[in-house]
Symmetry: D3
Subunit: 285 residues, 6 copies
């Protein structure tokens, strides 16, 4: 999952412009023809991401990228992941924004990979997915970080899958009415997922031609009971089962043991700790 450099270019310029305003007024100190080498170094281990974005940012400020690790690989603490060369003025102008991409995206990728590893140890077929609880306008980068960490990106946005949620069901007076209306009008190119909160609705929904059934906010034992009931009704293999809501690091394993097709976790994106990294600059004579 990626967009080419030239497509991201203007988006990253907007980020830089917010941070540059009328220019970097600290940089007035430099002589015009200085040159430096600067390295981005990790301060923790994890999965690195955001290097593609960092490279573009340094190209925008006018700095040459000498070496770069590949997004999505495992890194150690104190590992050099990016080396650039150029006018210190231009390096420092891009430093913070480049690091911010790396910190944010690597934080998400690292947490995703950890979670995938925990889940797949227990249930190798279960995918770990994020949700649409994202930073507005930063959706592409967060989804990409999940993908680099080995997670499933889930819906990108409101136009690539139908997802009938509790508010839709409320507004349509019930699961069946909502599904029937959607089935009658949808494009053949899109999947349908429905989020249910009760056993009853789960069974009702699974009888229709839907693709994914999300059990939302079920305790593990309740989810287990639904799955058993679906199996009894020979509905289990007709749909993918997604578990979501109220899942956290403490109970993750219990949910994984139910061997659902998907476990989705909002916190992979919305509440993750930044990955620690910094830039170290050395003047060149």
């Amino acid at each position: 999952m990626y967009l080419p450099k030239q497509i991201l270019w203007n988006r990253l310029i907007e980020c830089l412009k917010e941070d540059l305003g009328f220019g970097d007024i600290t940089s007035i100190m430099f002589e015009e023809d200085s040159k430096c080498i600067a390295r981005v170094l990790t301060q923790q281990e994890g999965i690195i991401a955001g290097l593609e974005e960092a490279r573009i940012i340094f190209e925008i400020t006018g700095v040459e990228v000498l070496e770069s690790a590949k997004d999505g690989i495992s890194v150690e603490k104190d590992q050099t992941v990016l080396i650039v060369k150029g006018d210190p003025n231009k390096v420092l102008m891009g430093e913070r924004t480049a690091l911010n991409f790396i910190m944010k995206m690597s934080g998400i990728a690292t947490k995703t990979r950890e979670t995938v590893n925990i889940v797949q140890e227990i249930s190798s077929k279960t995918r770990v997915a994020c949700t649409r609880k994202v930073t507005p306008g930063f959706q592409y980068f967060e989804k990409r970080a999940v993908w680099l960490g080995g997670g499933d990106t889930h819906r990108f946005n409101l136009s690539d899958m139908i997802l009938i949620k509790n508010n839709h069901i409320a507004a349509m007076n019930g699961v069946e009415n909502a599904i029937q209306n959607v089935l009658a009008k949808k494009s053949f190119t899109k999947k349908i997922e429905i989020e249910v909160e009760t056993m009853e609705d789960a069974i009702k929904a699974a009888k229709y031609d839907i693709d994914i059934l999300m059990l939302d906010n079920f305790e593990p034992e309740d989810a287990s009971r639904v799955i058993t009931e679906l199996e009894k009704n020979k509905l289990r293999n007709k749909v993918l089962i997604e578990l979501s809501g109220g899942i956290n690091e403490n109970n993750l394993i219990e949910y994984a043991k139910l061997k659902p097709d998907i476990i989705s976790l909002g916190y992979l994106i919305h509440s993750v700790h930044s990955f620690q990294a910094h830039l170290s600059l050395e003047l060149k004579h």
Copy 2:
């Protein structure tokens, strides 16, 4: 700190467009003339923020805002903070993006307020500030959330204060050369801050006409020693002292006891947990 609604409008449209793509394909289920009332409810206590943004988003999708709490106030769990009315289709189209603003910004405002309260109990003159470790392109909203939480916004970007950091000092071969160059060229309208890592540099820097001295990554006892030395040299009151780097919830109080002018904390923005809130919709007949 705020920008008027009409200035934010296009920015929020961009956020919505990323999430809408070719339109909300789940909404095809609704009859055209349905109406609903929807409420945003908190799921935890804290400081609410992002309501201004949420209101604009609902106006963009074509929904009427009936009531709204004020950004920056304390809220309880299960409190209604926003009520909108309109076509369920248009409410649900904006739901996620509106909630994402509220979750992100209230999370930051809540953590900021908590921190300010802790610090000010010990040192009423000490301001709690954020840093430029932000989500690229989302800087305005994160800085505003800090401000709503009672924190200091610090530099907005690279053009509103001079901040000489370790990489500048490295590139200029020392604190004094860096300061002298900046003093010779700067505008009278901007302040100068310098970040130092040793006692020696702190004293050197404070002798110049600078406004703020940042002690970066000092252990509490080391910072204390620098402050005492500055006092001895009658330099303490010439500058504001900012402590930064390595400060966390466990050692915060120790730093506050030094009664610095400012404590700045990157994690207020970059590693905060989302505030929990959801939208509940009820069809109107």
Copy 3:
């Protein structure tokens, strides 16, 4: 399928700006306080579309919309579909752009409805779909016109369904390699379609967990033979069958008789005749 008015607003302003340049220099003739009533009248029968866009355009130029037909309904020749009121200067500034939306979108909607009617008479389960052969940058409006005409919008763009085409197969050295690679990496939220050109590839592909099988450029008898073979292999009901390529108004019925799930036609968008409509203005005293 639609986007709210406020989201389309800036897009339509861009269209108007291209047509306005430094302003409408013919309009200098008008006195400032003139008022007129203007009507958009059809010059043929068909399905009307583009009225939503036309209304927004007149709001942008500053004209009041008094009445409007609904997009997607059948209209007669000489029917009034839109009535606006205001300064003639502002009406005429938007006239051409508004009519251009109506002409283009109604042309597509009309041809789509005709085609749907022909196909569904023969095979009521068969959907008529468009393709991605669109006018660059005008994709949303063309897809929406197909939808208003009762057609299926197919993929919106490259990120909402996987569609393995002949060039992918060529690059991957065969159908199976292409499918296996995609299956290993895809998100559970997206469907997979594969386009094949031979019976052999059709059978190979249908054995995998794909959602849609496109028979591209098959003569009706060849397509029929593939369908029979799939039925023999009990693969017919596992996948949706889409027929595409080389289908035109002369042979459409022959393809429809095969009762495929979908018939897709590029010409619905790329080679359709504009719908004829004009604006008639009357000065108000």
Copy 4:
């Protein structure tokens, strides 16, 4: 008539972004370091156009352009008009949008050239022009395609020539009032054209200092009578005569025989068939 590559760049990125969304999800199948050669081949004869735009699109997606025919030349069926080289992923990401430009623009250029040839055989001084019945926002590309086909681009937009149409005349209560008002206020740098529907108005208008007289929706014999009358009044050579409205491929020759200065045809842009072309890709080892 053209704009330089760098000016078109962002416009074409917008087209690609609409088609890419969150990225091409089919492309996940490719190994990172594949390379291919791809050729755009015509599937009919005609005038080729849109290659400039196609080249820019492939540069945006990151593909090298090896060879390209020149926009505006005659091509045969099965002729290679563009050869690119690069990552198949990046070739296929741009394929459809590049082809869409070629199909649309070559369709217009081809029909324009055909029409110019027919008309000039009969009246070598008569120019064939398009109108402002364009696809909103795509005006530049359609006008350029007409120009590449040898047609006259007519007004680009509302600010480069004054064109008094029937609605202006209605709003100003007559031809003379409209002309007098415009003459009093216009810039010396712009031409005036007036569209008339009766002999009487034609003669009235031609007596003023106008540049072009458009006979709109006249039968050939009626247009002929107006021209004779203008000659009698020694007004024929004072103005350019443009015939427009109701002209189609069946009666084109009759209108050309009147030897007007210009024949303008909306269908050159709004109802033209796409030119057929496709891309063929071959993996490189």
Copy 5:
């Protein structure tokens, strides 16, 4: 000459955004529910312009416009030209940008009107025009100010008239080659102007089917000699004569006496003094 409010809206937002950055930090002093009345007052006499832009700016910041004079009228010193009402915070946020439009545009309109009056006293048929020596990106507003002052806007940009200048002639090896090439390829909808620097070139050019002949940098007596020669050759009435280059307030009358069709002056836009105006605010209780 004007663009509607909604078209200018986003352009003016860009201007405000440059001036607002992260918001007006001085405004933090105000209580939330203050109200004020503010008046824009002239500090000199002249022709007022920019009020339309000022009104839009205040609407963008969220202020109500109570009264406004009309752009293009004569004003006295100390005249109130705009009255707004609202939150002082929002008034002051827009104050400077609104005044900057008024100062710049009224300065141009005032100087234009003065010049038109001087010239028309001597030669009532002579139009005073500006040139394309504008502030990049601000062209529309400067041209509109000239128009409000009664001047001719000349070419808006490079696509609405052909203007062959000395560098074109140099590149084409002479006037005749340049004209012939243009005549063979131009659209019938655009005029041709040619700038000449010698009598010889003037006569050569006037023999072709051109619309305007610009005598560039001629002393009055030399220009006079050219005009006489054109009359002798019966070429004077075939073309409009524009005088340009080296004309200033001291020699303007001498050029006007030659009764050219147009005198064009770059300084109307590029070197004009700002019109003096200020905003006076009064708190409302």
Copy 6:
């Protein structure tokens, strides 16, 4: 003070697009493969600026920059400051916009340098600053021109310094109330300036913790009296003194003699004469 080329790129494209419209229609005269050398030559002495912007414009139109002087240096009359090489079509397409940047920015830089020289002869510590009386949207370029001329850029915009002006004081019922409110809420990173109009307010203001005191519209003798009084109260060295309002070329020296810290002058930007320069092109064979 500067922004990197890639950040300015899109901004300059917008300027060019306004001037290009549908393309340069005069350029149709050129053969495709012509080449030329073109030189920008000064027509007066002064400080050159805008060359960076001119270079980018020529790169955008597709021309190679061979040589360029450095922005901010002194130039003689008839000096070549920029040499470009390429297709004459592309040179002439950028000519006017490039020259417009040079003319505008060099005009400001030249006047600024002159003024700085006059002032510093009398008071070497006094800085000459511009104000926010700028061309809307062109602020960055005008501030940069002042900086290149050796002036102080003052506030860039409303978010980088607090400046309490007469309207703020009016709205807050007095100097002290305004200052107290701001002090209680401001960020430690920003300076406070206050503009006063009476001796009384000057003394009141200087007693607070403000950074800069602006004496607005004071006659030299009155300003002198305020400064003496501040000295008497030992307040002079606590604040920077800025003189502004009513200062012009005739009385500048009198104000400089007061040895203020800053003299600020709106006319450096808003009423400056354009610097004269032109482009001379020579065809290459």
